[in-house]
């Protein structure tokens, strides 16, 4: 008797949605046991997570969506690349560069007092282009020399981090401190708390316009993927580069374009973070959004609507888990839950059969 793993030919609806749900439930159960072992009452901990991540009123939702915004953008970035079977794992670096370029526009390029309706689009374009350039480099290397984009895009994350540090600590340093000066007020992305003067309930709601941009881009992503000729080329290229080449699609060019667009989306996420949240460039403004987004894209099966949903749920977990201290336990909880969901994901694509007598008819 042995276990046989075989791919599922047909994925039923029950399995598609049931398996991740079961994985989530199992992960929560396992985490509950761990929490209890650490002497933390698990149900109360879960309630606290749900409360401060989701149900705790406008603040909770606002906090969660604020965190979800870069996750959606980076998730779309990863999904676009993954659709083409390009493993862009460097969204974090592209996010850094996008933030860097937006900062440059805000504090070094535009004259003081530039109105927001000019400044913000300029920053967005700069952020997108910088991220795109950072993504296009591994894309070009892959298309031209066959270099693994996994390695190059990942390595460029560290280059980007140091590049930013150089500017934070040196060129744009605010009086020698490890940050740039604050952006002019006009170039901050509008956020809900700006409405506080007319609607006091909005005070302290940090959700910014970047979230709307992320939603619009998710819709655009869907349109491009499923309703355009470029999307068709992407799909074919992702399934089989040989087939795409055979069909006369510009495979190499598309690889560079996709990596650039992917980087651009991540760059936009960086731009949103610095103009919508931090209002200046500093170290550590991203707690690894670009890396978490890989998971988001994967769990969402590269579907844009699912990316929005998964980002929201994951952000709620991230925000809510701050209620559990010390943070190591919260991180463990997140790790267990995500591992279980990913493991369950494997079961949607494959099934495990117990075979009693193995008849070997397969070729070696």
């Amino acid at each position: 008797m042995r276990l046989l793993v075989e791919p599922r030919l047909v994925q039923s609806r029950v399995v598609r949605f049931g398996a991740p749900a079961a994985g989530l439930a199992f992960g929560l159960l396992l985490s509950a046991i761990m929490l209890e072992l650490f002497g933390i009452p698990a149900p109360a901990a879960y309630l606290a997570i749900i409360e401060s991540g989701f149900t705790g009123g406008l603040f909770a939702i606002s906090d969660t969506l604020t965190v979800a915004t870069p996750l959606i953008l980076c998730g779309l970035a990863c999904a676009l690349a993954f659709k083409t079977r390009l493993w862009n794992v460097g969204a974090e670096g592209q996010l850094f560069l996008g933030a860097w370029a937006a900062t440059g526009v805000a504090i070094a390029l535009l004259p003081a007092g530039t109105p927001g309706f000019i400044a913000i689009p300029c920053m967005a374009v700069a952020g997108f282009l910088a991220g795109a350039a950072w993504g296009a480099v591994p894309g070009f290397l892959r298309a031209r020399f066959g270099t693994s984009e996994i390695l190059t895009s990942l390595m460029l994350v560290y280059v980007a981090a140091h590049w930013n540090n150089y500017f934070i600590y040196s060129v744009w340093s605010d009086r020698g401190f490890q940050m740039t000066r604050l952006f002019p007020r006009e170039s901050w992305l509008p956020r809900l708390s700006d409405l506080a003067s007319s609607w006091p309930g909005a005070a302290g709601l940090t959700l910014h316009a970047g979230f709307v941009v992320a939603l619009l881009l998710a819709a655009l992503f869907w349109f491009v993927m499923f309703k355009t000729r470029f999307g068709f080329e992407i799909k074919v290229t992702g399934i089989s580069e040989r087939t795409a080449h055979y069909a006369g699609m510009p495979v190499r060019r598309n690889i560079v374009v996709v990596m650039a667009l992917s980087g651009g989306l991540a760059g936009l996420a960086g731009m949103c973070e610095v103009t919508g949240v931090v209002h200046r460039l500093q170290e550590n403004f991203s707690p690894g959004y670009g890396f978490t987004a890989i998971l988001v894209a994967w769990l969402a099966r590269l579907n844009p609507a699912a990316i929005v949903l998964v980002s929201f749920l994951l952000s709620g977990l991230l925000v809510g888990a701050r209620e559990i201290q010390p943070s190591g336990i919260a991180m463990m909880l997140q790790g267990i839950v995500l591992t279980c969901v990913v493991a369950a994901d494997f079961l949607t694509g494959n099934r495990i059969r117990i075979v009693k007598d193995a008849a070997r008819t397969e070729a070696p």
């Binding site: 355009t228 799909k235 074919v236 040989r242 087939t243 080449h245 055979y246 006369g248 008849a359």
Partner: protein
């Protein structure tokens, strides 16, 4: 050897056509199924060593394909037995069956006279049978010794490598094999790896060795040494069954030869010394046996399947099919006269890849409505040739022009837009992709013209419509245009691909191995489609390792051997025997 001709008699019955043959050769000369137990009853001549491996009436069926059809084969102790045949003749299937990797659909395997049933390679190993694969299946990172010991199943609990190596050493010495036990396999040459694989098989106490094209990747020098090793093994009483396409080496080392063609053993255990290379080549391509030094076949009644295939083969004779197709020769005369620029033209195309010359100064020109066939054993540059013709691969030198415009160095899309369509041999990974939906597979090239209202957009409704139309008109059996391409059988997928390419109304059509793995009905469908398309004025380049196919369909035939055209025949001069010899590289490389 007094094996009767009943084993060889099946050849002609299997052929699809018999162009140059007198009608009498189409007489049902069928394989008569042997009765169990009787197969070798007449062979126990006292002077011969006993049969160590006996395959009797082995049939192996894959979905839609009968890979081996009641094949019988006997290997005597200490005998070197060569198995020859074209690609797809069923040799590998038969060997895999003997090595326990595949289970026969019917038939009996006997080892030393005892019937056995292998459910796994381990079972075969236990019975003393070991197979050495073309790629050796060694673990590159491990040392030579570890590879030899690997999987032998009877290791001492403490691996005393030195001791174990010392135990193997004398055997190797006697066989003239020298190996450095400590080197990692990845650092070895192909010849050395071959030795490691051999030693591993022997270490597992194999008495029957099965070698799959053992010299295919060896240098001539290495080959010679391997052949010497084989002789010594045979002298030690090891029986060897080996597959090879190289007739000279077969004649130098083998005791007997079995020739397979289309799943049948068309000649079993011919004495290797006496037979001429031409005779073997002729048998391999299913040719006339009159030239083989074997007596006339015994007549037997045709089995239903054979009579069917025969009737089909008759229906495929060119004269008939041309009269069947709607556009006989008259349509050729109505089609515009050949323009001054040929639809497809290659000018001294050379391709170097991976340090080897794949194509050597090929020149070729197609006329409208002409079907040119390229014959050859696969792996002689055909894949590279079609890739260059379709713009998939850029030639190292020379030029390719389509419809008179030089497209050298341009993209496959430019080739396509110049009117060239290409049906790749790799249906699931190149001509389509297994995970694409049927609609997507069909619109692989159509999508550019199916524009939606918005800039850049794709009219997805039109995609589905186009797909439905092509699925219908080419009679593809499917479960909806959204179904994955992988869900189609090979034949239906080929219809889809051919239908897609034809729907673009190409001026040039390149088809590579168009019927490989297809059943008879689909094969016939493909032939019909190609003939009709040629009649419509499309220039067709048919590249196939199936000689019968090329002979049946082509107006003109070129033989490819080692990246060159080594012979060219207009239809009236088709000579199966000569073509077969050229394919096997037996005739000096004559200029085309």
């Amino acid at each position: 050897m007094n094996r009767t001709g009943e084993h060889q008699g099946n050849t002609t019955g299997e052929r699809r056509e018999g162009l140059e043959e007198p009608v009498s050769s189409l007489q049902p000369l069928s394989f008569a199924p042997e009765k169990p137990g009787s197969s070798h009853a007449d062979e126990h001549v006292s002077s011969l060593p006993p049969v160590s491996l006996d395959l009797e009436g082995i049939s192996i069926e894959f979905p839609g394909v009968l890979a081996c059809d009641r094949v019988s084969l006997a290997i005597r102790r200490g005998e070197i037995h060569a198995l020859v045949g074209e690609n797809g003749a069923g040799k590998s299937t038969l060997m895999h069956c003997a090595a326990g990797i595949l289970r026969p659909t019917s038939g009996t395997i006997r080892v030393d006279g005892t019937p056995v049933r292998f459910t796994s390679p381990q079972d075969a190993q236990a019975a003393g049978i070991a197979m050495v694969f073309q790629n050796f299946l060694l673990v590159e990172r491990l040392s030579v010794l570890d590879n030899v010991l690997l999987g032998s199943g009877s290791l001492p609990p403490l691996l005393e490598r030195v001791k174990l190596a010392a135990g193997i050493e004398p055997v190797c010495k006697r066989l003239g094999i020298e190996l450095d036990w400590c080197r990692p396999v990845e650092s070895l040459s192909a010849g050395e790896k071959q030795k490691v694989a051999l030693v591993r098989a022997l270490y597992r106490k194999a008495r029957i060795l099965i070698l799959d094209e053992p010299t295919a990747v060896l240098t001539p020098d290495e080959s010679d040494r391997l052949l010497e090793t084989m002789r010594r093994l045979a002298a030690d009483g090891v029986s060897i069954l080996f597959v090879s396409h190289k007739l000279p080496e077969i004649r130098s080392v083998a005791d007997v030869i079995t020739v397979m063609h289309r799943g049948r053993a068309v000649a079993s255990s011919l004495p290797a010394r006496g037979i001429s290379a031409e005779a073997v080549a002729s048998l391999m391509v299913g040719g006339d046996q009159a030239s083989a030094p074997i007596s006339a076949p015994a007549s037997a009644s045709a089995s239903p399947s054979q009579s069917q295939s025969q009737s089909q083969s008759q229906s495929q004779s060119p004269s008939q099919s041309q009269s069947q197709s709607q556009s006989p020769s008259t349509s050729l005369s109505t089609s515009p006269p050949p323009p001054s620029s040929p639809p497809l033209r290659l000018d001294s195309v050379t391709l170097r890849a991976g340090g080897h010359d794949r194509l050597l100064s090929l020149s070729l020109s197609l006329r409208s409505g002409e079907l040119v066939g390229i014959a050859g054993v696969s792996g002689n540059g055909q894949r590279e040739l079609v890739s260059v013709c379709a713009g998939i691969v850029q030639p190292t030198s020379g030029s390719v022009s389509v419809g008179g415009s030089d497209l050298t160095g341009r993209s496959p899309r430019d080739f396509f837009e110049a009117g060239l369509c290409y049906v790749s041999e790799d249906r699931y990974n190149e001509a389509s992709a297994a995970q694409l939906s049927l609609a997507d597979s069909i619109c692989l090239k159509w999508y550019r013209s199916l524009r939606g209202a918005l800039p850049g957009s794709l009219d997805t409704a039109a995609v589905t419509r186009t797909a439905g139309r092509i699925l219908e008109s080419f009679n593809v059996r499917h479960s909806g245009p959204a179904a994955p391409t992988a869900s189609l059988s090979g034949g239906n997928l080929q219809k889809l691909i051919l239908g897609r390419e034809l729907s673009h109304e190409p001026a040039v059509l390149i088809v590579h191995q168009p019927t490989q793995g297809l059943d008879l009905a689909s094969t016939e469908f493909v032939y019909q489609a190609l003939r009709q398309q040629a009649a419509r004025g499309t220039a067709i380049l048919l590249v196939s390792s199936d000689l019968d196919e090329v002979l049946a369909l082509s107006d003109r035939l070129l033989v490819m051997y080692r990246g060159r055209f080594v012979g060219e025949f207009p239809r009236c001069e088709f000579d199966r025997l000569r073509v077969g010899s050229l394919m096997a590289g037996l005739v000096g490389e004559a200029a085309p």
